[in-house]
Structures are given as structure tokens and as C-alpha cells.
């Protein structure tokens, strides 16, 4: 039971990253690899500032900002310098690896004496629940709040334009809008969310490690595809909701594999295989699916 709660909590936190990948991959049709760098960037910034005594809640907007800058970099490289989408992401991701090392070295632990968003004073309102349950509730709230904000945003004029840009950018140009700016905006939002996920993961495990970004794009893509494929027939389910459940389901699958004796060193292999299975299943069921 404890294990399930903690696995679901992982799913909630990583759902933030999935929302980000949903924006770039599904809405903008932009395969953004920056996420492998912006996720640990959020964690590195968080670890650095918390070790130096910053309030844990203040690290949330700070991580958002750091991720936004990373997304901006990829966006500018792609739009202003005309570098292909995939390569633009790879450039930023590679650069961020070094930047993260500069910020927080290869490992940076947050000691037990430092309060995180899960243990700081305001969590007292949750009473004397155990830490696992507090983490569960707080990360659920964060995931739902971000989902609602994102849902609201996608219904605004700006959000409508973002969806249109991924759908038909010729039309966006015909409407006298700069499609480049819209793409940059989408990348900024997506990477801000990825960094926020990194920030919360860092606080949850009380550590930053330089390799924690590896495979996050694959995770994000897999959850988006699992979510949207599973709920494809149910049109009343919002895509963000589908992605949210995709994230939880994915974490449960991985946890099951570990529980059944999968060595931790094979984890990324298992992630890749799971992703492959999801893609293959999608193209079987959906017939000729364009992006699968």
C-alpha cells in the first residue's frame, strides 16, 4: 500500500513534465529534446538554492523561470537561427548538462535538516499524516493546479493560437501572426513545466544528480501517447487529464517491473522497451497513425 501511494505520487510529480511534453509534441508537433536538460536544470537550481537557505516554496517559481529560459534558448535557436527542431533541442540539452554541473556539481544532497515543500511549516495543516501521505497530497495538488491552469490557458486566445500553430501554421501566418513567436512561447511553457517537475523531484528525493535528466523525453512522450491512446474514444476526457493518468500508469508499470526483480541498472532499457511497446500498440490499434 505504502509502495502504491509513493508510486502514484511519482506519477503526479512527473505529470508536470508530461504536460510540458504534451504541449511541444502533441500540440506544436515539435519533438523537443530540451526536456532532458531542463528537467535536471530545475533540480540543480532547486538543490543549489535550498542548500544555501532559500525557502523551499520560492524554488518553485525559480525553477519555472530557469526552465522557461532553457525553452527560450531552444526556441530562439530554432526560429531565429533556422536550426531544425530536433537539433535545436539537442544543442540546448547538451549545453544544459554542463550548466547543471556548474550549478550543482555532479551530486548535491539536501540535508535532512533543510525543510522541503513536503516538510515545511505550512504542511502542518495536513495534521500528523505520515510523510508519504503528505507527499502524495501535496504533489496531487500541484499536478491538479497545473492541469487546471493549463486547461484554462489552452482556452484563451493565446492558447487557441498555440493549438492552431501546431495544426496549420500556414493559416497562422495568413492571420498575420508570427508563428515563430508562438512556437517559442510553447517551448517556454513546456520547459518551465519540465523544470518545475525537476524541482519537485529534487525536493522529494532530497538530491540532485547530473544524470537525472536522461530518458525524461522518452518518459514524457510515452506518457502522452499512453494517455491519449487510452482515452482516445472518450472525447469528454481532456487531453491533459489523459496525460495525467498516462503518467501515473507509466510509473506503476515501471514500479511493477522493479518489484518483479528488474535490476536498477536496466531501468532505462525497460523504459525504452515500454515506450516501444506503446508506440507499436498505438500504430496497430490506430492503423496508420501519423506520428507513431
Amino acid at each position: 500500500m505504502e509502495l502504491l501511494i509513493s508510486t502514484m505520487m511519482q506519477g503526479f510529480i512527473y505529470a508536470l513534465l508530461s504536460y510540458g511534453v504534451y504541449i511541444t509534441y502533441k500540440i506544436l508537433d515539435f519533438p523537443d529534446l530540451t526536456v532532458d536538460g531542463s528537467f535536471p536544470l530545475g533540480a540543480a537550481v532547486t538543490a543549489y538554492f535550498m542548500v544555501n537557505g532559500m525557502n523551499p516554496y520560492l524554488t518553485l517559481p525559480l525553477a519555472l523561470l530557469a526552465g522557461a529560459v532553457a525553452g527560450l534558448a531552444t526556441g530562439l535557436i530554432h526560429v531565429k537561427l533556422g536550426v531544425r527542431d530536433l537539433l535545436a533541442g539537442i544543442i540546448t540539452m547538451t549545453a544544459l548538462f554542463s550548466i547543471n554541473l556548474q550549478v550543482a556539481d555532479s551530486n548535491l544532497a539536501i540535508e535532512r535538516s533543510i525543510d522541503t515543500i513536503f516538510t515545511a511549516a505550512p504542511t502542518a495543516v495536513l495534521g500528523d499524516l505520515s510523510l508519504t501521505y503528505k507527499k502524495f497530497i501535496i504533489s496531487l495538488i500541484l499536478a491538479l493546479v497545473c492541469k487546471l491552469i493549463l486547461d484554462w490557458y489552452l482556452q484563451t486566445k493565446s492558447g487557441l493560437l498555440l493549438r492552431a500553430t501546431g495544426d496549420n501554421d500556414t493559416l497562422v501566418t495568413s492571420l498575420a501572426k508570427n508563428k515563430g513567436s508562438v512556437k517559442i512561447l510553447g517551448l517556454v511553457i513546456a520547459n518551465a513545466l519540465a523544470a518545475l517537475a525537476g524541482c519537485i523531484v529534487c525536493q522529494e528525493q532530497r538530491a540532485f544528480t547530473s544524470t537525472m535528466g536522461t530518458g525524461q523525453v522518452v518518459f514524457g512522450l510515452a506518457t502522452v501517447i499512453i494517455g491519449t491512446t487510452l482515452f482516445r474514444r472518450l472525447s469528454f476526457v481532456k487531453a491533459t487529464t489523459a496525460v495525467f493518468f498516462g503518467s501515473i500508469l507509466y510509473k506503476i508499470c515501471i514500479q511493477l517491473a522493479i518489484s518483479m526483480g528488474l535490476p536498477a541498472n536496466l531501468l532505462k532499457l525497460a523504459m525504452a522497451v515500454l515506450f516501444l511497446l506503446v508506440l507499436a500498440a498505438g500504430s496497430w490499434k490506430g492503423g496508420a497513425k501519423k506520428h507513431a
Partner: protein
Amino acid sequence: MLELKNVTKIYNPGTVTEMCLFDHFQLQVKEGEFVSIVGSNGSGKTSLLNIICGSIPIEGGEVLIGGENIAKMKEYQRYRRIGRVYQNPSMGTCPNLTMLENMSLADQKGSFCGLGRGIQKKRIDYYKEQLALLGLGLEDKLHVKVGALSGGQRQAAALVMTTLTPIDFLILDEHTAALDPKTAEIIMELTDRIIKEKHLTAMMVTHNLRYAVEYGSRLLMMDKGGVVLDQSGEEKTHTTVEDILGLFTKISIECGN
């Protein structure tokens, strides 16, 4: 209204495949004119539209709209005053958005897309009214994804979306070419009506010689980057499809087609 001065367009400059399409090309379109442009493939019709809209760069010359040189403007900036309907019906609408979302989007042309609600409830009646003018029943399909509509319905929707906000200039790039004859006829009639109602200046490229003769106030025939026929007013009303076809065939034979 629109003026092209000494426009030079060279494809693949500096390579063995270099091809000079326009060499100091001149054209003037007066306000309120509806210009039909015909010509064989490669005569420069679509290039002409692309030059006006900024979709392709030019090597020299000026493009003026209302006296303002727009040759240096980016494509998206030029569309503040220009509306364009493409040959491919899927270019003018977003397939994964609903009809209502598409209309709301088109309504945003010329204004800033901020954090206000994307769909203005009080505008819905206006959208319905505009779609109802088409007579295709699109006003009852506001919540249908546009990708599920037929090519003709999408092209009609694209036409309404393009002219929903005030524009000075309408560009029609073989916009009936991908439609079946009956639907093409409907779209062509709608186009003519919208242009007249909104007093637009328009340029239409078409392969349909009959449309070129029947519609519009001026007729241009292009060949190898030049205008070989330019008729308007009284002269145009006496022109028949046979006259045009005769000239068309003559040019084609000279080319060796």
C-alpha cells in the same frame, strides 16, 4: 492600390539551374478591381501572388500597397492587410479545431492574442450569421472538427474566415481547382458575392478560363513572366472563352507544348 515596380525574380540564383522569371515586371491594380489571371504552368501566376504576399523573396524592385513599399516586410506582417485563400482546402482551416474555434481564430486577425477567452460567446451569433450566408449548413456544425468536413465546406469556411475581418486585398490562389465542378461553381459564386459586398480588391489565379471570363473586372494572361493580355472594362465584357482559348493555344504551340 497595388503596384509592382521593376520586380525581378530569379529562381536558384548563382547555380546552373538559374532561371529568371520576372525581369523588371510592372503591374498596377486599382482599388476595387477584381483581376483574374490565367496562363499555362510556369508562366508566373502563382509566383506573382507569392511575391505580393512575401512567401518568396525577390531580387529587385518594389511592391507597393496603398503607396507603401512592403517589399521588406515579413510575410506575416503583410497579411495584416491581405487575405489569402489557397488551392488546397486544408490550408485555410485548422483540421483539429472545431468550426467555432476556427472562426474565433480568424476573428483575432489584426488584434493581439492575449489571455482573454478564446471563444467570445457574444460573437457566436455573428459567426452563425456569416456561415449561414454560404447556404451550406455550416452554421449548425460549429462544434464539429473542421477536419471532418468535406473539401468544399472547408474551402467555403476558409473563404468566410479570410474575409471575416477587414482586409484591403484578397488573394485567391486557384481556390476552386481542388473541388468538384458543382462545388467549384458554388464557391466561385460565393467569392464573387463576398468581393462585391465587402468592396474588396482581389486577384484570382485560375485555370478555369470560363471563370476568368465570367467573373472579375479585369483579365490578365501571363506567359513566361510577362503579361500577354490585359483587358478590363468594356473590352473584357466582349471577350469570350473562345478568344482566350485561341490565344492560350497559340502561346502553348509556340512553347512547343
